[in-house]
Structure formats: C-alpha cells, structure tokens
C-alpha cells in the first residue's frame, strides 16, 4: 500500500514535469511547420495607440498584401517606456522581436547596446534593398546616424514642437488672430492682455517641459546643452544648461507661473487639456498633436514657430525632433532580415510616408514624401501643418541644434522634470534647480559611461 502511493505520486510528479516540457516542444514544432509553409513572419513591437495604432495595422496589412513572402505582425506593447522595457526583457530571454519602436530618449541606450542591435544600414545592405540615406531629411536622420554617416535605426515617427494658439481667444481679447507672438517678449505681452481682459485664466502652458523648455529652447537659440556637441562626440559629455540662457528662461517661467502668464500642466502631454478647454490660449507641443487638437478643440486654432528671445538672437536656428525610430534586434536569420529590409523600404516609400505624415502630423522622413505632400496640395488645404517642416529645414543644423545623444536620457529627462517642478512651485530658484539637475544628470552620464565601457 505504502509503496503504491509512493509510486503513484512519483509518477504524477514526473508526468507534470514531462507535460510542461512536452507541450513547449509541440508548440515550437507547430510554429516551425507554419513557417515552412506560409510567409516568413516579422514581428514589430510598437507603442502607438488609438488612431495611430490602427494606421500601423493598416500599413502592415497593406505591405502583407503587396507580396506573399513575408508577413509583418505589429504588436502594441503599451507606452514608449513599456515597449522599450519589454524589448529589453525579451532580448535578455532570447525572445526578441525583429523590429522595435524606441523613443528618441532611448536612442543613446540602444546605440550603446552593440551586441543587441543590428544597425539598419547593415540590414539594408545585406537585404539587398535599395537604400540612399541622403533621401532622408538631414535633421531627422542626424539623430540616428553615426559620425561616419551610417544609419543605425530607421526614423519612423519624428515630430518637432510648434506653438499652438487659440485664435478665438486672441480675437476675443482684441488681438490679431493671424499674428501670433514670435518672440518670448511678445508671448509675455500677449499673455498679459489675454489674462487682463478675462479671456483665459493663464496665458500659456507647455507639454513635454524638458523637451520644450530645455532641449528645443537650446537648439532654437543655438546654445549647447552639453559639451561634446550634445553628446554626439563622445560619452564623456557634461551638461551645461545651468550656465546658459536656459537659466533665464526658467527664472521667467517661475515668475510667470506666479503671475498667471504661464501655467504648468504636468509632464509629457498632460498639459493638453489646459489648451483644449480654453483655460490657456497658447501651448507648445509636438506637431503630431495637430489631429488630436483638431478633434478636441471646439474653437479654431493656429500653429506657429517656437518663440525666441529677441534680446538674445535674431531668429530661430532650428528645432530638434522627438518621436521614435525603429531598431532591429540581433539574433534572427538572414531570411528574416531580408524581410525587414523589404518592409523598411516599403515604409519609407514616398506614398506611405506622405500618407503617414498627413494622417498623424509626424514629419515625413524623406524629401520625396515632403514634395509629394506639397504636390498633393495638403499644406494649402490645411494651413499651419507645414510650420514644423519649415522650422526644421530652413536653417542648416549646427552642433547645438543637430539633436542630442546621451545615455540614460529617459531618466535624465525625468530629473530635469523633477527640478523644473521644484522651480515652478517656487521650492528652488531657477539657478539652484538647474544646478541640481545638471549635477544629477552628469552622475547618470558617468554611470552610463562606466557600464558601457
């Protein structure tokens, strides 16, 4: 009896073990069989929700319908940081997708991950796809290209910030709705008028406070964010924005916050509703927010280039981009990379790009797509949508406005946000806050440098 029970339990335990192993093998065999028969599957992890997510599904299914060798499967992985974390975790366990969309602040981290990433220029070369990096907008690709001009990731959804302003509010305050402020001096003046006449409770807000008030602010004023050309020339860069015009800007913002000229609306795009609901008359945000504002605002609004300090510069240099690019993971077969190359080629064709640009407000990444959109009469029919492109392409970018390349920048941006909140709430002076931000951010740069030696 005793023996029987023992044997039975042992068998049960063994069975459980076998079952768990066996089913895994069956699954693998199944998918291998499917692969042998059907098209080769390419997985693409992305972070686009809502209408943009549906657009991605459409792009993939159009590509799949255009040929029968490969099948691109897009999978939404949540927010940008969720997607990146998921991709990294997947790589660590050997389950990485082929393509992953990574936001621009993750660029430094991805670039440093040499054994994990297959550079796009390699993928394209090996895949035999026609590929000409100079067809791409320089201000966009500059972000994702090595010093030697090799493109490491595929720019996909890039945007640049612009000013949005409420035309109805301008008119109600007796201001010219077709003449938005061009300088920070005017932004202040106009805000005072708008608030004094009781049209809005505060003049302006901003989304993405670090992207707008530190990174783009520096670029359009042509001042450096750090040493080593904003990190492009080496991992040993040190931040400088506690010694530049950024300090004055934050002094003003803190002062304006008290006077209701400026109203802080939170991190990322949390400030959006302040503008939608008419609480403020101006906001700064991604050009890709255009369709969202169009949907949510029951007033007419316009777009305009980012303002500059007329006391400091004669005009704006150029703004820098945000958004995301597509990275290719190591560890897949040559056949599969061929599919990736084919898909990237399709993705950057003028038709697909022009459609994507017009639908989402993201920048077209090639000159051909820009020209096609012009030819289609899109900008004439939708005034204000070209502002972002003009702002990006009018001036040749300098070392200060080419973009930025720092490791751990997602965390650094959080640090800047932290200190900005401390400054705007009056807890710290602008100088103190930015000094602390630079100190903490430099520590992270040094850690990143050590970890990636």
């Amino acid at each position: 009896m005793k023996r029987k029970i023992w044997t039975a339990s042992a068998l049960m335990a063994l069975g459980a073990l076998l079952w768990s192993n066996g089913s895994g093998e069956v699954e693998k065999a199944d998918s291998a069989a499917a692969k042998a028969q059907g098209p080769i599957e390419i997985t693409w992890w992305h972070a686009m929700g809502g209408a943009n997510g549906e657009k991605i599904d459409q792009i993939a299914s159009d590509f799949n319908a255009s040929q029968n060798e490969f099948k691109v499967i897009p999978v939404n992985k949540g927010s940008y940081s969720d997607t990146m974390t998921a991709g990294i975790a997947a790589f660590r366990s050997g389950e990485q997708p082929h393509i992953i969309q990574v936001y621009e602040v993750g660029t430094g981290t991805m670039m440093a991950a040499k054994g994990a990433i297959k550079p796009v220029y390699e993928v394209m070369k090996e895949g035999g796809a026609a590929f000409d990096p100079s067809a791409y907008l320089a201000t966009v690709t500059g972000y994702y290209t090595t010093a030697k001009g090799e493109m490491l990731s595929m720019p996909f959804n890039s945007s640049t910030p612009v000013m949005y302003y409420n035309k109805d509010a301008f008119a109600a305050a007796g201001l010219d709705p077709e003449n938005p402020p061009k300088t920070w001096e005017d932004v202040e003046k106009v805000s005072r008028i708008l608030v004094d006449r009781g049209v809005v409770s505060a003049g302006f807000t901003t989304t993405w406070p670090s992207w707008l008030m530190v990174e783009n602010f520096s670029a359009i004023h042509n001042i450096p964010l750090s040493t080593k050309s904003n990190g492009f020339e080496g991992m040993d860069a040190e931040f400088l924005f506690n010694k530049t015009l950024v300090v004055k800007q934050h002094e003003m913002l803190a002062k304006w916050q008290k006077e209701n000229i400026f109203k802080y609306g939170g991190r990322a795009s949390a400030a959006g509703p302040l503008f939608n609901t008419g609480e403020v008359a101006m906001t700064f945000g991604s050009s890709a927010g255009y369709s969202g504002y169009k949907q949510n605002c029951d007033f007419s609004f316009g777009t305009s280039p980012l303002p500059y300090w007329a006391s400091e510069v004669k005009g704006i240099q150029n703004s820098i981009i945000g958004g995301a690019s597509l990275w290719v993971f190591e560890g897949h077969s040559a056949e599969e990379y061929k599919g990736v190359a084919r898909f990237f080629n399709y993705l950057s064709s003028a038709e697909v790009q022009a459609d994507w640009h017009q639908f989402t407000g993201y920048l077209p990444i090639t000159y051909a797509a820009y020209d096609l959109t012009k030819k289609q009469g899109y900008y004439a029919a939708n005034p204000g949508t070209e502002v972002a492109l003009i702002q990006m392409t009018t001036n040749q970018p300098t070392a200060n406005s080419k973009g930025l390349r720092f490791g751990s920048y997602n965390q650094i941006r959080d640090i800047i946000n932290d200190e900005q909140e401390a400054i705007f709430s009056g807890e710290k002076t602008a100088q103190q806050g930015l000094d602390d931000a630079v100190k903490r951010a430099n520590e992270l740069l040094r850690q990143f440098e050590k970890a990636n030696k």
Partner: protein, 293 residues
Amino acid sequence: MRDKQIIYKSPVLPYLLILPELVIILLFFFWPAAQAFYQSFLREDPFGLSSTFIWFENYRYVLTDPFYLSSLKTTFFFTLWVTLFTMVSGLGLAWLVFQLKERETYQTFIIWPYALAPAVVGVIWYFIFNPTLGVLPWVLSLFGGNWDPKLLGKQAVLMVVIALSWKQISYNFLFYLAGLEGIPKSYTEAAMVAGASRSQIFFLIIRPLLAPTTFFLLTMNMLYTLFDSFGTIHNLTHGGPNHATENLVYKVYADGFIGLNLGASSAQSVIIMVMAVALTLFQFKFTDKGGRA
C-alpha cells in the same frame, strides 16, 4: 493543535505532497529573489551584454541617494496616515452599521470599493482630482482654493493618501464589523445594566475586545500601503511632482523599468525584501502570542 497532527509513516510522502507548492514557490518566489540578490551586486547595461561584479556599490549608491531617503520618508508617511485614516473610519463606520437593524444595504455599499483593482482606483481619483477636468478642483475653486497637485507636492501626497485609504476602508470595515458581531451580547448588556454610557461601552469594553482585530488590521494596512499602492500611485501621480509621492516600491519600478538601472533597482528590492520579512516575522510572533493568550 498538536494533538490533531497527522503522523505519516513514510518520511517521503509528506514532502511529495507539498512538492507542487514548493515548486511554485521556488520558481516564482525564490528563484527571482535569488536573481535580484545576485543582480544587486552587478553593474550591467540594460541588455545584459556586459556586467561587472561591484560588491556593495549599488547599495552604497542607493543608500546615499537623497531620493531614496526621501522615498523612505514618503513610505513612512503614507503608511502612518493611510493606516490611521482607514482604521479610524473603518471602525467608525462598522460601529454605526453595527447598531442598525437592517445592515445588508449599508454593508454592501461600503464593501463595494474593495472589489476594485488599485489601478482602477487610481484612474477614478485621477478624474476626480484632475486640476483641469476634475470635480473637486472645480468645487474648491468656488471657494477660492488653488488645487494643483501636479506642482505642489503636499497636495499630491494628500491626494494619494485619500485614494489609497478609500479602498482600504472597506476592508477595515468588514473586519471590524465581523469583530463587533463576534463580541458576545452579554458583555454589553451587562455593562448597560450596570449603567455604562455608550462611549464607556465602546472605549472600555468593545475596544479592548477588538484588539486582536486591530492588530491584524494594523499589519494588513501597513503591508497594503507598503506593497499594494503601486497601481494607485502610478495612475495618479507617477511618483511626482518631484518625487513627492514616490514610495519605496515605486522607486524600484522607476529606477529599474524606466531608468533601466537594474543593479540599483535590485539592491532596493533586496532592502524591501528584508523589510517585508521582518514585518511578517513580527506579525507571526505577535499573532501567535495573541492567539494563545
């Protein structure tokens, strides 16, 4: 209890019977814990391509990080206020409902919030408290109040404490009500006959008799605020503004998953693990004594 123990003749069978449970615990608790422990001594790039053994440097970094110390303080603050707030209101509500003849309706409504996931609670309160869209800021603005938890840390902390407590009040209510129902009527009746006032009955008879429940709830509430608050904080404030609502658990997430600093994040989880073990041992010891007394 001892006399009820079953004695197995074979030394192997009992172990076999608990084997499935052991496998699960080993696989989902001990293995990850061991990994975290090992990781806490490494400096590694996010992809795990290169790693260096650096002894206690992660711990040194964490323990000298001013935001870590402030998250300790925040955690303590949350725990104190949420525990106090939920227990007082849970007991108060239970006492009120206990005196009713028809309890079911009230009971159901008060228990309701407990059925919600912490993340959902976060979203609900996000909409109530949102400075632009919310109801509460609008009401406050009628009285000239300035509600801006996105910028003002103290308001954000208050907001999180309220959201965390709201859900947990149900739990406290439920246990206190059960506790009250478990007190023999004869005690309170005898006291009434002896001429005790309502408050005397409550403070001198009910309160001490509820002590085991109170102790149990005290530890449960502490554990809840320490480890279950993530979803609520994530949806309400993301730990901001300027780390004001970042507790220990949230910081592990922020450093590990957003910052991709796995070493420092692991070191923090090891510290939390030690705290959790200590708290649980403490609870075991006391409930054991309470049970025997």
